[in-house]
Symmetry: C2
């Protein structure tokens, strides 16, 4: 059986994702689609709209065959670390291909860009440093530095978010000497973070979330942009837990944590760099919502995403030492769910998997897994009463979800 | 002007407190009553029903002339440290007398007990250790050990909470070579922690709080046990902040803190002793209220109060090193409020005060004061929105309350 891997957040799963899966399946001529999906917290440093379990169920119903969790230690990181973790999982799962959506759509351009940057590495790094010193954020400085090198027109535009991710996947695969092969398909409509609806059936996850929160969770307005399974899944989640997760839910907890913490203690948190701790502390005291707080905190020097990630690590109390890795590779395959076809694949290749598979957590000393457990518990704290209790229990009691397909 | 000192929590101020003040004034033939009052968190390791500012106002309207805050570093401690801090403040404020209510009512009995225990110290300590080893709590072990020494009938009963406190005041004054002189008056009716109403006008603060929370904040039922000023103050507080503070308000914050904290980190918190950290962690995961949590946590080895204090220090993130003191004495007099007579006293003796007086906080490096600021901020986190904002601001912006009298 031939498997193609995709790297996803599905926050939530929408028609664009369904299109991507079908394209990936075709491009790789694959029997099985394996998704490595971020858990309850995402790369932009924010909570997922609904839990990883519900998102797994939606993904399986809409075309994915196996879902592995991308551990917190990778899922909440900048592109290169995010990519390293995700690629290491797909490689360990035996995928022959990795297929990503990109603005470029030309896989050769990615390889050309990779070798171009490798050949010009010292000049590139120099330029990045220069632009950082001018007070630019890291992504902005990287993009400007790339432009300074006068790249060929064939090369990809490294200011586009999906191009950046794709580039990092290819780079990670190369660095890990992985046998997985990269493919790319052009993304259909909708820019990555576009907050507006731009097409009749394809919309960005950002615009879908925005609609959900601005309409106080009314779901009709997003129905046309998501598969039936997502639509139903969202309705069920709202009924069961009474909420969708966003940062505002966690704001009272973050603020509490900040008022009870001395600045020196904050500095031990991952991504809280020199000087940021005092800024975070004073901005929080004056703010009554997460939005207000972030607007107070934002400077040219740090992107919104970078600051959100620092706040997320404060929320989960993730220390610098907890995020340090000898090698940027996953240490297990956490199986969140599978279709019956997915199960067939896993039964067949069980012995060949390059990492231990975790189907259900018992007590563990694995540093990456401990972080995932902690993150899930903190995620549950956004709810209260029965909903919190259910979310808390799932991390240990929920077996992998199985969908007949 | 002659000042008598009282050591109080006023949670809330009731008729028994009014009686005590009048008795103290008479016994000491005093012009002025100075109260050293715990701030927002109390000796039993719980939040005060209403803020220290409201409690100050109630006290001033009902007979006290000056209120100084007993810093967190003393207010949330076992009796001997609590007493040391309080006595050091009254001594520094120039009080000639300290007057406490007790079950005994005989000051000579306290002195006799003090010298008796001093003379039998090694045997006493031996017996305490013995009873601790049998699994008793510290207060229980002390009380049993005292009994083992066959004290004279004249001596005080050291199993009664107010006798214990009085004993510690006298001991602290002696240890500090203080010139302040101790007096005691018999407490009128109502045992310290009695949860039931037992008289027509005198009730314990415990029973008053119990009535307030069980009746969902309906105030009529407690009206007969408190002065008019307390009754009005409670109504105002409820209107302004929408709540009375109890542990359940802080339970979501405590639980959040526990799920995001590793056991090893918990051990750095004051009063979290060996082994307790794992017990606290697992009890919290299974509990949906503070009451449930405490019932799970309770053992014969630790008193409820002792455990509540450990939880309070977790809530305020108070480390062992933050609570260590070279000498158990206050480093400032934090003035919360005064009557016009109280102001006259302070103006007259300003130069003689043995500690710097803090009327309004600006930035500070004083360790005790930093803890008070942190505690007030955490206290504010029990409220939300406008109420939280007002509570947060007060710590820095509220000048001492002045009542014309």
């Amino acid at each position: 059986m031939n498997a193609v891997g995709v790297i996803v957040e599905y926050n939530p799963f929408h028609n664009g994702h369904a299109f991507h899966i079908e394209e990936a399946r075709k491009a790789a001529n694959a029997d099985i689609v394996i998704a490595v999906m971020s858990g309850n917290f995402l790369q932009r440093g924010e909570p997922a709209l609904v839990s990883k379990w519900k998102r797994t169920e939606m993904a399986l119903k809409a075309g994915v065959d196996i879902v592995f969790e991308l551990p917190y230690v990778f899922a909440t990181q900048q592109a290169n670390t995010f990519a390293s973790g995700a690629v290491s999982i797909l490689e360990a799962a035996g995928c022959r291909f990795l297929c990503f959506g990109s603005e470029s759509g030309q896989i050769d351009s990615f390889y050309e860009t990779l070798s171009f940057l490798k050949n010009n590495d010292s000049r590139y790094q120099q330029q990045v440093k220069l632009h950082l010193e001018k007070g630019n954020s890291y992504p902005k400085a990287s993009s400007l530095a790339f432009h300074d090198l006068h790249p060929d027109k064939n090369m990809i535009d490294l200011s586009k978010p999906n191009n950046i991710l794709g580039y990092q996947y290819i780079k990670a695969a190369k660095e890990q000497n992985a046998s997985i092969e990269a493919l790319t398909v052009t993304r259909k409509n909708a820019d990555y973070h576009d907050p507006h609806f731009a097409s009749e059936s394809i919309a960005s996850a950002t615009s879908i979330r925005k609609a959900l929160f601005s309409l106080n969770g009314q779901l009709e307005s997003v129905q046309q942009y998501v598969p039936e399974s997502t639509y139903e899944g969202l309705i069920e989640y709202k009924e069961q837990y009474g909420l969708f997760h966003d940062w505002e839910l966690y704001w009272p907890l973050l603020k509490f944590r900040l008022v009870q913490t001395a600045p020196e203690q904050l500095k031990s948190i991952y991504e809280v760099e020199e000087g940021l701790e005092n800024r975070i502390l004073s901005a929080s005291l004056e703010s009554e919502s997460f939005q207000q707080f972030m607007e107070r905190l934002k400077t040219k020097r740090y992107t919104w995403t970078r600051l959100q990630r620092a706040c997320l690590h404060i929320l989960t109390n993730t220390l610098k030492e907890e995020m340090s890795m000898e090698e940027e590779k996953a240490s297990y395959l956490r199986l969140l769910g599978m279709t019956t076809s997915g199960r067939e694949y896993l039964n067949k290749y069980k012995a060949d998997l390059a990492l231990p598979m975790v189907s259900r957590i018992s007590s563990t000393k694995d540093q990456q897994l401990l972080l995932d457990i902690k993150a899930s518990r903190v995620y549950a704290m956004g709810a209260s009463g029965f909903a919190q209790k259910k979310l808390l229990e799932k991390e240990f009691k929920q077996p992998p979800i199985i969908i007949a397909k």
